[in-house]
Symmetry: C2
Subunit: 361 residues, 2 copies
């Protein structure tokens, strides 16, 4: 097996995800380019590694580039404007295709540039981190951060195709591989206990970058996300379960400064907090919480929030989170391993216990 194809079923916005090795081939990309202009957006870390291979896989048309500095702190309106500048300076028209070559930051910004340039142009994702392969590949969420909140400006915009190449993971730093695994195990926690068992058994191989097993994990993660998103494209309901650990996690990222804790690391610690609160509600057993902790530890992820963050810090930062509806904090919690709910059915006291606990439930 060098490649698997997953079709994301969204009616007239359906598209394929290719997962596997040796994907930087012309036959993979050319069929998805409509006009005769392409803008590749990448960052200063990824471009030197994969830009040449990507360009070689494109037809002989106008190809322009924007290379952003690498980091979440550049995912903002200022750098988004650099993309618009290039598009307009090089006279890209409505049939242009934007290609995101990089991780989640590049994908989110490029997707949002594609959503908003001339009110919407085509978009291809070439995610080069595990996190972006299992998260941004499906769902169409695009956007940038605002100084007062993460992902506060954005749009839903689906790509024409996604190339999730495991070859690109060979150059990924260990810490980022682990951050990606936080989202992979999340799919097990919220939706599929069998997948969780498979991850528990194969975590050592995944950490060792076994490309076959990574492909399997990416494929199943995208498949689960696609099933959830297909039921709720605009995030009115069930889709919110994908945010397990994210409300706590966003608070951690905002408090620590974006980039100091990687997104996946913050989500891992947040997932532990969600598991802890679920246990205090009587929904998870202590053994369940131990399993959550063990698999996160096996993926080399943090399982405790930052020591310098108080309960008051969490409450303040979580109140601006998008999951707050009409002032009422909703959280994604676990009814069991493999089953998540979005709920406000927890007392402030129990939440306070989770936020101040010295050890888990």
């Amino acid at each position: 097996m060098t490649q698997q194809t997953l079709n994301v079923d969204l009616g007239d916005r359906s598209y394929p995800i290719f997962v596997g090795k040796d994907l930087f081939l012309s036959s993979m990309l050319a069929p998805y380019i409509r006009g005769n202009q392409v803008l590749i957006v990448s960052n200063s870390t990824v471009a030197p590694l994969y830009m040449d291979a990507l360009r070689a896989a494109l037809p002989d048309i106008q190809i322009d580039e924007v290379i952003l500095p690498d980091g979440e702190e550049y995912k903002n309106l200022t750098y988004l404007n650099a993309v618009y500048d290039e598009l307009l300076t090089k006279k890209h028209n409505r049939t242009t295709t934007l290609i995101a070559l990089g991780g989640g930051v590049v994908g989110d910004m490029t997707g949002y540039a594609a959503a908003s340039y001339q009110r919407g142009v085509n978009f291809i994702q070439v995610p080069t981190t595990l996190l972006s392969q299992v998260d941004s590949s499906v769902g169409g969420k695009t956007g940038v951060n605002h100084p007062l909140g993460k992902n506060m400006i954005g749009a839903f915009h689906q790509p024409q195709v996604v190339l999730a190449s495991v070859d690109a993971l060979e150059t990924l730093p260990d810490r980022e591989l682990s951050a990606g695994l936080a989202e992979v195990v999340k799919y097990g926690f919220i939706y599929d206990e069998a997948f969780l068992c498979w991850l528990e058994e194969n975590m050592a191989d995944l950490v060792a970058r076994d490309s076959g097993k990574l492909s399997q994990a990416i494929y199943r993660s995208c498949e689960i996300k696609a099933e959830v998103v297909a039921q709720d494209e605009r995030e009115g309901g069930i889709r919110a379960i994908l945010n397990l650990g994210h409300t706590f996690g966003h608070a951690i990222e905002a408090n620590q400064g974006y980039g100091n804790w990687l997104h996946g690391e913050a989500v891992a610690a947040g997932t532990m907090m969600a598991a802890d609160l679920s246990c205090r509600l009587g929904w998870l057993t202590r053994d369940d919480v131990k399993r959550v902790e063990s698999v996160l530890l096996a993926a080399n992820l943090p399982v405790r929030p930052p020591q310098d963050m108080s309960a008051a810090d969490f409450i303040e930062l979580m109140s601006v989170d998008k999951k707050v509806l009409d002032g009422q904090l909703r959280l994604v919690l676990l009814k069991g391993l493999g089953e998540a709910v979005v709920t406000e059915e927890f007392s402030a006291d129990l939440l306070q216990e989770t936020l101040t606990a010295d050890s888990y439930c």
Copy 2:
């Protein structure tokens, strides 16, 4: 008759437009507000005139305001960011409703802020200029300008409801009333010769601000636009006929500096150029061109492009226009009065004749 209702039929994005007098009533707005937060965006000219009346028509919920400076030159990412700042500082959540109180600039920016804030929130239009009542009320186009092009950043985002109050036109400067009439007569030119005849007969009353006749003109204009948009929501085809005069017009606005020529004035001169080229193609008679010119003159509109603009200026500026597909310039031209086509079937020589003509065909 104090009020007529037009339903814009876009499936699950359908919404009503109320046209008439005395629309600033709670019964008109309250049913369309979902959450308990509202942000009103207006400008420094309109807010002193109508903000109090609008606030009085809203339920007793959190109401915040952003007052922008008045003018097309502020329709940019910087002022858009001022709207995001207010939304985030005041902790508006996903159920908030943005209300645009003003003309096209306020409507376009507020609509785009609503499209992009937290990936999309509710939006209500209260257009206070004739141009915005007959143009921005229907179609869902939102966006901001970029230094290198008008409306280059934006989204399609439909409002929950539009209140087109003719009362608000009492305070509109004469020049802006005329600019709005340029878009009204456009609907006759492209779609409905009978409406064009009605406008020819009633132009003096419209210029004199007869509120009954203005209501009729607004209603029929929105109705025509809604019929066209319903056939082509995302502007793949027929919808482009709404841009009669706009490719030439945008070039005039860009060349003269936004705001020096009002949008409607530039469209009027552009419409004459489109009529002239249509005549040179043998599609319009010279009498048809005279009728176009007469009704525009009766509305106190310019019928010639700026004297200091050369043919080369037009060609350069039109090549970046959104109507250019794959490098080929497409124009909206008239096959007859009441019938428009989007076409590239004109020779460069004929276009050059139109751009350099001392008098019309």
